[in-house]
Symmetry: none
Subunit: 195 residues, 4 copies
DNA sequence: AATGAATGAGCTTTCATTCAT
DNA sequence: GATGAATGAAAGCTCATTCAT
C-alpha cells in the first residue's frame, strides 16, 4: 500500500505547500522534491508522473474530507441537521488548512481537461454523500419527492464551491465558518421548496 | 473603437474555436492566427499579448451576455420572472454556442492567477446584475430584508456555474435549457426562505 | 542628390536621436519614422534598408567632421599645431553633440561585421586626413622619416577613440575638451620619438 | 569552483569558436551546445542565460590574459621593458588564438549596453595593470610626475585595441607581433614626453 | 510621393522525465 | 531504494520590409 510508505505522504504534503505558495504553473517537480527533502528522481519511484501527484493529492485529501463528514452526519437525525454539519465541516476543513484551500479552490483548476476529469471522478465520492443526504430528506418527508436530486446536489455543491472560491480569492480575510447558518438556511429552503 | 475593426472580432472568434477544439494549452497563437486567416504578427496589432486575447475574448462575450440579460429583465415585473429569464438566458446563451461554453466553463480556467483575477473583474458586471435583481426583490417585499445579498448571489451564480460546468464536462449531451424551471424553483425558494 | 531632399536629412537626424536615446537594438525603423514625422514606408523611399540609414548617417556626419577639420588645419603651419587643432576639433564636435557622441562611440558599434566594414570605409576619409598630417610632419622634418605612418595613425585614432568612448561611457560627465593639451602632448611626443 | 567542472570550460570554448565562425548574432545557444557536445538544456546548468556565457567567456579569458602579463612583467626592472613585454604579450595572445581575437575585437562588441558595461568591469583588471606599470615608471623617475596616468593608459589601451581591431578586420593577414617594437617605441616616447 | 496595415521567419529558455551510478 | 546530471522538445513575440491605396 502506497500510503504506508512514509515518502508517499511526504511528497503529497510537499506538493500542497509548493502549489499553494507558488501557484500551479510554478510548482515544478524539482521544487516539490526539494520541499519533500528527496531527490527529483525519487518522486518517480512513488508517482507515475506529475499528473499522478496531483490526482493522488486530491484523492488523499478528499478521502479524509468524506470520512470526516460521514462521521459527523452519522449522529444526526433530521436532514436539516445533516445539511448543517456537512456545510459546517466543508467550511471548517478549508478554514483549517489554508494551503489546502488554495490548492483545491484555485490552483488545481488550472490543470488540463484530462486531470480535471480524473479529479471529478474523485469528487464523485463527495457528491454521492450529498445525494445520500438529499434522499434521506425525501424519504423522511422533509423534502418533496419531486425534488430533482441531481439539480439540488449541483446547487449545494456549486454554492459551497463558489463561496469557498470567493473566500480564497479574497485572501481568506473573512471568516468562512461564520456564514454557515445563513448558507444552510438558503440551501435548505431551496430544497424544501414550499413557500 | 476596437470592436469595429473587423479583424479584432475575427481573431476573438478564431480564439474561441481554437481553444474549444484544442484546449487552452494547445491553443498556440499560430493556430489562432491560422484559424482567423491572418498572419501571426497581425494578432499583435490588435492584442498586447496572448493573455490579452483571452481577457478581451471574455470581456466581449460577457458584455453581450450582460446586455442581453439586462434587456430581457427590463420587461419583467416580479423578481420571480426576472430570475427566470436570467437563468433561462444564462443557459440558452451557453447552449447556443457550444464552443463558447467549453471555453468559459473549462478552458479559460486553466489560465494563471493574473488572468483569473482580470476575468473575475469582468465577471463583476454579471454579479452586479444578479445583485440588482435580488435587491429589487427585497424592495418589492418578495424577499425578506434579512436576505444576505452576497451569499444569495454566490448561491445563484455558483449553482448556474456548477450546472453549466457539469453539462460541458458531460459533453453537453443533455438539454441544459430544459432544466431551467427546476433550477428557478430551487433558487427562488432559497432566496424567499419562508417555509 | 539625396541630401537635398528635405526628408533625407530629417530621417537621419531622427535616427541619431532615436539611437542615442533608445540604444541601437531598440531603434526600430518605426520609431525612427515616428521621430522623423513620416510613415514607416516613407523611410524606404529614401533608404534601401535599415542598414543603409546607419551607414548614410555615419557618412553624412563624417563628411562634416572631415570638412571641418580640413578647414581648421588649412591655416596651420607646424605639424604640432595641425595635430592640436585636429584633436581639439575631434573632441569639440563630440562634446557639442551629445547624441552624436553616443551614437558613434557606443551604439553604432553594436552593428554586425558587414556594417562595421562599410563604416570603416567611411572612416577612411578621416584616417587619410591623419595620415596627411603625419606625412606633412615628416616632410617638414618635424617627424623622423622612420615614423611608421600607419602605426602612428592607429595610435592617434585609437587614443582619441578610447578617450571619447570612456567619456561617453561615463555619461559625458567631465569636460573632454579640457584634456586636449595633455593628449596632444602625449601623441606629439609619441610621434616625434626622440628622447 | 565553476572552472573545475569540465563542461563549464567546454561550453566557453565552444562559444568562442561558434561566435568567431558565425558572428555574434548567428551564435545561437543551440549551435554552442552542439559544438560543445551537450544538450541545449545543459548550457543552463552552468550559465544563467546566454548573456552569462558571454560575460563568463570574457572573464575567463581576461583572467588568463592578466595573469600571464603580470607574470612576465614581474621579471622586468625598467618601465620600458615592462611596457614591451606587456605589448608583446597582448599581441601574442591574440595572434595565438585567432578565434579569441575575432570574438574580443569584433563580435563581443555587438552585445547590448548591459553586457558592454559588465565586460568593461572585467576589463578594469587589465587597465589597472597598465596603471601599475605607468606608476612604477613615475616612481623610478623614468616618467615625469606630470604624466596624466589616466590619459596615458587610454593612449596605451586605445592604441593596442585599435591595432588589434584593424588587424582582425583585415582578416589577420599580416603579423601583429612584428609591429611590437615600433608600437613600443611610439607609446614609450609618448609617455616619456621629453624631446 | 506618401501611407501604414499586414506579413512571417526566427530563437531563448523551461522543465518533466530518464538512467547510470 | 535513492540520486541528480543530463536531456531536448516546444512556443510567444518582434520588427524589417512590402504593397495596395
Amino acid at each position: 500500500m502506497k500510503r504506508n510508505k512514509p515518502k508517499y505522504m511526504q511528497i503529497i504534503d510537499a506538493a500542497v505547500i509548493v502549489i499553494a505558495e507558488n501557484g500551479y504553473h510554478q510548482a515544478q517537480v524539482s521544487k516539490i522534491a526539494k520541499q519533500a527533502g528527496v531527490a527529483d528522481g525519487t518522486i518517480y519511484l512513488y508517482f507515475k508522473n506529475k499528473e499522478d501527484i496531483l490526482i493522488s493529492l486530491f484523492k488523499e485529501k478528499m478521502v479524509l474530507f468524506v470520512e470526516k463528514i460521514e462521521e459527523v452526519i452519522a449522529g444526526k437525525q433530521t436532514v436539516s441537521e445533516k445539511l448543517l454539519v456537512m456545510i459546517e465541516n466543508h467550511c471548517r476543513i478549508l478554514s483549517d488548512d489554508h494551503h489546502l484551500a488554495i490548492v483545491t479552490q484555485l490552483e488545481i483548476r488550472q490543470s488540463n481537461k484530462d486531470i480535471r476529469l480524473k479529479i471529478n471522478d474523485v469528487l464523485k465520492g463527495y457528491l454521492e454523500l450529498v445525494d445520500k443526504i438529499l434522499i434521506s430528506g425525501i424519504e423522511s418527508g422533509e423534502f418533496s419527492s419531486d425534488l430533482n436530486v441531481r439539480l439540488a446536489r449541483q446547487m449545494i455543491f456549486g454554492t459551497l464551491d463558489e463561496m469557498a472560491t470567493t473566500w480564497v480569492m479574497n485572501d481568506q480575510k473573512y471568516d468562512l465558518v461564520e456564514q454557515v447558518p445563513a448558507i444552510h438556511k438558503l440551501l435548505l429552503h431551496g430544497c424544501r421548496g414550499r413557500n
